[in-house]
């Protein structure tokens, strides 16, 4: 009989203090002068197929950092520290994220914090253990992969100084799963935790993103991308602000503004949206760019309320082209005209305990209903001999997918193509799949439609 996994936060929690929901570790960066923030460097050395290019990895990792910068609205921000080839979590005054092909038991990712008396965090490094688990830096990870963005957001919450939350929908909840992407953005409990540590930002904030955030934005010469800017006003009064978009070029210089809206009115407790399209000229210098949105004071135009940015890359030989055609860094778009009221954030409270699983857990097939292929998924929490068989409702054996096969621990997905043991397609209807692990059996139903 299957024992459900119940989870004990206690075993994982690194407690120094605790309140319902988020957890403060007791060491953080609050001793730093304003504006509080830390550079974090990325080593895109993941060897998994799903990690894609180095740019894919940088984007996914940076999105994990951006989850906190953009949504926590706390007086602490990660800043992009660039690429690194460092691959050690020893104390070296660099905050880094890297992938390790080495063995590390069952650890998926580990954060190493270094701190001194008074809880003054001085360095934090994150390692993704891709020697044992597969990661994806793409928009939609498969069932077999851990999402880099999702995991990075969680681990970077640790780097803030947050422990595990008891709110199951929060990014800082102790548990995740392959294929999960829901923790990429923050829950109100995560926001509350970050703000409890670092205080709340000015009531104005801006977020810029593209629709393909987790894909590499690499251009060979000319190209274009679409983007969206969201401006928030959490104040109880309406305000005027100045919206600008500019570029940080590969040599570190600034180009622009490409957009300069001097007097945008944002009502109290509202959000404004701007949708745009950015052209990249054919003679753009090769290298890494930051595409940056600023929300600024109208009276003191160089005072930023908030800044948000993402990266893109131009590679290959730069050629003359659109610049000469007069298009250059053309930006087109519209918005910031109608305000939407800010929505409240809800959350699912979850008080959980426990942790050590039984031998296995059988999950519902995906998709279900199906035609004709479906995946039967199960987790194995120890080495075991495993059988997986399909039956019809009369109890007749249709097909054996696994026959007493010796498997190691891990998650598995077995595909069934709705054929019997002779390779013939079976008729529509309800079927049973039976998983036998050692002496234990689990059974579930699935529906084939035609």
């Amino acid at each position: 009989m299957i024992r459900n996994i119940t989870l004990i936060v206690v075993a994982l929690a690194l407690l120094t203090s605790y309140s319902f929901g988020y957890e403060l570790l007791g060491y953080d960066w609050t001793y730093k002068p304003d504006p509080m923030g830390e550079d974090i460097e990325f080593n895109p050395n993941c060897s998994d197929y799903g990690c894609g290019s180095e740019e894919d990895q940088i984007n996914a990792l940076w999105q994990g950092a951006n989850a906190w910068t953009d949504y926590a609205k706390a007086e602490f921000e990660f800043t992009y520290g660039g690429w690194t080839t460092r691959n050690s979590y020893t104390y070296d005054a660099h905050n880094i994220i890297f992938f390790s092909p080495g063995s590390s038991g069952n650890a998926i990712a580990t954060t190493y914090w270094w701190y001194q008396s008074g809880g003054r965090m001085t360095e934090a490094d994150i390692v993704f253990w891709d020697g044992a688990f597969s990661f994806s830096a793409y928009q939609s990870p498969s069932y077999s992969e851990f999402d880099v963005w999702n995991i990075a957001a969680h681990e970077l919450g640790h780097v803030h100084g947050l422990g595990h939350s008891s709110v199951s929908a929060s990014t800082m909840y102790a548990y995740s799963s392959q294929g999960e992407t829901s923790k990429r953005t923050l829950h109100s409990d995560d926001v509350n935790g970050a703000q409890a540590l670092y205080g709340e930002q000015d009531p104005f904030s801006v977020i810029i993103h593209t629709d393909d955030d987790s894909y590499a934005r690499v251009f060979s010469g000319s190209g274009s991308f679409d983007f969206t800017v969201l401006a928030y006003n959490n104040d109880s009064y309406g305000h005027l602000f100045r919206a600008t978009i500019d570029l940080v070029l590969p040599d570190g210089s600034t180009h622009g503004p490409l957009l300069n809206l001097n007097s945008v009115y944002i009502p109290a407790n509202s959000t404004l949206t701007y949708n745009g399209s950015q052209n990249i000229p054919g003679n753009a210098p090769v290298g890494e760019y930051k595409y940056r949105a600023r929300m600024r004071d109208t009276s003191y135009p160089y005072d930023d309320y908030d800044v948000s940015y993402f990266m893109f890359w131009v590679e290959g030989k730069a050629v003359a082209g659109l610049e000469e055609a007069g298009e250059g860094w053309a930006l087109t778009g519209s918005g910031f005209e109608s305000a939407e009221p800010l929505a409240g954030e809800g959350g699912q409270a979850h008080t959980s305990t426990a942790i050590i699983p039984g031998a296995f857990e059988l999950r519902q097939n995906v998709p279900n209903p199906f035609n004709p292929n479906t995946n039967i998924n199960f987790d194995l929490y120890e080495e075991a001999n495993v059988s997986l068989q399909i039956y019809n409702l009369k109890g007749q054996l249709i097909k054996t997918l696994l026959d007493n096969r010796a498997l190691d621990f891990g998650p598995y997905s077995i595909e069934w193509d709705a054929t019997d043991s002779d390779g013939n397609s079976v008729s529509a209807g309800i079927y049973l799949y039976k998983l036998t692990v050692g002496n234990e059996i689990a059974l579930k139903k699935m529906t084939l439609i035609k």
Binding site: I5, I8, V10, A11, L12, L14, Y27, S88, T90, Y91, G102, S104, G105, N106, A107, I108, A109, T110, T111, Y112, W113, Y115, S117, T122, A132, F133, S134, Y143, S144, E145, H154, E155, H164, A174, Y175, S176, S177, Q178, G179, T353, A354, I355, I356, P357, G358, A359, E361, N375, F378, D379, Y381, E382, E383, D408, G410, P411, Y412, S413, I414, E415
Partner: protein, 153 residues
């Protein structure tokens, strides 16, 4: 280390309910991959920098119960993290120990011949009011369960 994804025969690895940072394993797995399992009180902890640049701690347990393996009255094992002078290293997947704690630990041999925890935070069970809180089981019941697994492996 083997990749768990190398299994063929049309197997794909699926979304498991897992720790954000640790993939869970059963007690049987822990027993099968450990050489020593003991329960007792943590009586001392020392920490120092090691050759890998990390701070490691050495915890010594006054053994009350040997579940498996050869163990004397006191067993010392190491784990990542600890405090040296003014500097502390904490490791998100590593357990922490405190002097006076009553614990059960799963241990294996390290490359340097010392004992180390078998599998990160899953290597520690904490005894509070007569129950191991990670498994929510009374002391003797859980010891008996682990002993039975150890005897049948």
């Amino acid at each position: 280390m083997r990749k768990i994804f190398t299994f063929t025969f049309a197997l794909l690895l699926f979304a498991a309910a897992a720790f954000a940072a640790i993939y869970p394993v059963s007690d049987k797995w822990m027993v099968n991959h450990s050489e020593v399992i003991v329960a007792g009180e943590v009586v001392s902890i020392t920490s120092d920098y090691e050759a890998d640049g990390l701070i490691w701690s050495y915890a010594t347990i006054q053994v009350d119960q040997v579940v498996m393996g050869l163990a004397s009255d006191q067993v010392t094992f190491k784990y990542q993290g600890g405090t040296v002078g003014d500097m502390t290293l904490r490791v998100s997947t590593s357990p922490t120990f405190e002097e006076g704690e009553e614990v059960l630990v799963f241990l294996k041999s390290a490359e340097d011949g010392t004992l180390e925890i078998t599998n990160w935070v899953l290597s520690k069970r904490t005894l509070v009011d007569g129950r191991f809180i990670e498994v929510d089981k009374p002391y003797h019941e859980y010891i008996d369960e682990l002993t039975e697994i150890a005897n049948t492996r």
